[in-house]
């Protein structure tokens, strides 16, 4: 017969693990996410108003312009190896704005470039950001269909 060496059940061990593991710093994390996320939105607002006021865009195009500017900035910072440090510092402050979406596409593109332009860069571009597009677009189609049925 096989000896049982460890006489600890998983539930008790889970309790032990929770006590032994240092907790994440909630207040600090939320504060950092707040101010960095806020600053990203200020940059977006600045870009949007520049588009509307100086380049005579419609408000909708202004927000689109802001998104493009933020994506461009993120791509540059990601390529320069800076964005991962912003992400480590700010957490959701970096990944909830569109900057996070852009970083989620640029970083795998960079990482898997070594596996080739087509099956490396091209195929891996959506590995992290894919779910957002799948469920966002899926849900919007559903809303559109329901809307079409109700108002037709």
């Amino acid at each position: 017969m096989n000896r049982k060496h460890i006489r600890t059940d998983p539930a008790a061990y889970e309790q032990m693990t929770r006590q032994a593991s240092p907790p994440s710093r909630m207040v600090q994390g939320v504060f950092r996410a707040f101010w960095v996320g806020g600053v990203v939105c200020i940059i977006g607002q600045l870009a949007a108003e520049t588009g509307v006021q100086l380049m005579k865009m419609t408000p909708a195009d202004g927000y689109c312009f802001a998104a493009i500017i933020l994506v461009l900035l993120t791509a540059i910072l990601t390529g320069a190896g800076v964005f991962d440090r912003i992400g480590q510092y700010a957490g959701a402050g970096a990944f909830v704005p569109i900057t996070g979406f852009a970083n989620a596409m640029v970083s795998p593109a960079l990482e898997f470039r070594r596996e080739g332009m087509v099956l490396g860069l091209g195929a891996k571009l959506f590995t992290i950001a894919g779910p957002v597009l799948v469920y966002g677009i899926g849900a919007s189609v559903l809303v559109g269909l329901v809307y079409a049925i109700i108002f037709s």
């Binding site: 096989n2 000896r3 060496h5 460890i6 006489r7 600890t8 059940d9 998983p10 061990y13 889970e14 032990m16 693990t17 032994a20 593991s21 240092p22 907790p23 994440s24 994390g29 990601t78 390529g79 190896g81 964005f83 991962d84 440090r85 912003i86 992400g87 480590q88 957490g91 970096a94 990944f95 996070g100 970083n103 989620a104 640029v106 970083s107 795998p108 960079l110 990482e111 898997f112 070594r114 992290i128």
Partner: protein, 350 residues
């Protein structure tokens, strides 16, 4: 009837295979750590002059292996087996390095327990007199492990306080049955661990996932060899990190075999200083491999340590199993290492 056995899991090595020499190649971050000056070579950057990080890891294995062979004073052709492994899919670092070395190769996967797995098997091959010289290697690289197990390097994820930092490094050791010169250490016992899983699912808390396996192997070894923690100058675990080490101490207390805290070290905690922002400590196959070869073996050789218990621990999950919601199984293998200076007359004295 297997005569070279003790109890359920432990193997006696009556011929006491010797570790002739070891070599450790590490990356710059490890070079800046507290053990920095002990390593054979610290690379200038993570890419080690190669086109990709995978090639860099492979080159580190190769260079460490050749250095160990050279330090042991043997020829490459004298090596009868190459036992090695790493963290990458299909263990490409070890097997592609083996392609260059052109030695009979057995590839191992034991996650971060690989170095000890190699020592266990290597010492058995020697003690069974199937070879005169065996080469054991293990390696890991932060940049190759990160993309395989977690995220792309430039992805801005936050690391949790329990997360560990994969060591960039390769360790190699030449084992021999009939040393021409004084060995660095002798392997007297080996204990092959069982896979233990107490249901930890957090892949960012591998120390917690591996601690039960470590405790299981320790208890088996103590019981099989009728020894106790006080019989060892040091008990060195592989990469449990801060969380896992504390859990191991607690688990051993709860099993009625308390460890002596200041004689219980962890390679993952030795390799980085707290200022290096590595959260719970180092991890990876390379972690225990480079600490053993650069730090522990020289101390055994000089007689500063008499007898130690060296145990690498591995977390056996894959990204697939984690995504499918499975918990993380752990494994730990141990070897008992003796200083050549502390050698006693009896062949095995416990």
């Amino acid at each position: 009837m297997a005569v070279k056995r003790m109890g359920q899991q432990t193997i006696i090595l009556p011929n006491k295979p010797a570790i002739l020499a070891g070599a450790a190649w590490v990356g710059p971050k490890e070079g800046k750590g507290p053990l920095g000056s002990l390593f054979d070579h610290v690379t200038e950057d993570e890419s080690y002059g190669q086109q990709s990080f995978e090639l860099a890891e492979r080159q580190m294995v190769l260079d460490a292996a050749r250095a160990a062979i050279r330090k042991a004073g043997v020829r490459e052709g004298d090596i009868r087996f190459l036992l090695g492994g790493d963290l990458l899919n299909q263990i490409i670092s070890a097997s592609f390095a083996a392609r260059e070395l052109a030695l009979p190769f057995l590839g191992l996967y034991g996650a971060c327990s690989t170095m000890c797995e190699a020592l266990c098997l290597g010492s058995m091959l020697l003690d069974g007199e199937y070879a005169d010289h065996v080469l054991c290697t293990a390696s890991s690289h932060f940049c190759t492990a990160e993309r395989q197990y977690r995220y792309p390097l430039e992805y801005g994820n936050q690391r949790t306080p329990t997360a560990q930092w994969t060591v960039t490094g390769a360790g190699a050791a030449v084992l021999s049955l009939s040393p021409g010169k004084t060995p660095m250490a002798r392997i007297t016992h080996a204990c092959v661990g069982r896979v233990v899983d107490l249901g930890v699912t957090d892949a960012n808390n591998m120390g917690a996932a591996m601690a039960p396996a470590a405790a299981d192997t320790l208890l088996a070894l103590f019981e099989d060899t009728h020894t106790a923690p006080r019989d060892y100058d040091l008990i060195v675990t592989g990469d449990l990190g801060r969380v896992g080490r504390n859990l191991l101490l607690e688990l051993m207390n709860s099993q009625g075999t308390p460890l002596i805290e200041d004689r219980c070290l962890d390679c993952g905690l030795l390799i980085y200083s707290p200022e290096q922002d590595c959260h719970a400590g180092g991890s990876g196959c390379g972690c225990s491999a480079v600490v053993l070869n650069a730090c522990l073996l020289p101390q055994l050789q000089e007689g500063k340590l008499g007898r130690i218990l060296f145990m690498s621990t591995g977390a056996l999950m894959s990204p697939t199993s984690s995504l499918q919601g499975e918990s993380i199984p752990g494994v730990a293998h141990a070897v008992v290492l003796e200083s050549p200076k502390a050698e006693r007359n009896t062949r095995h004295d416990f």
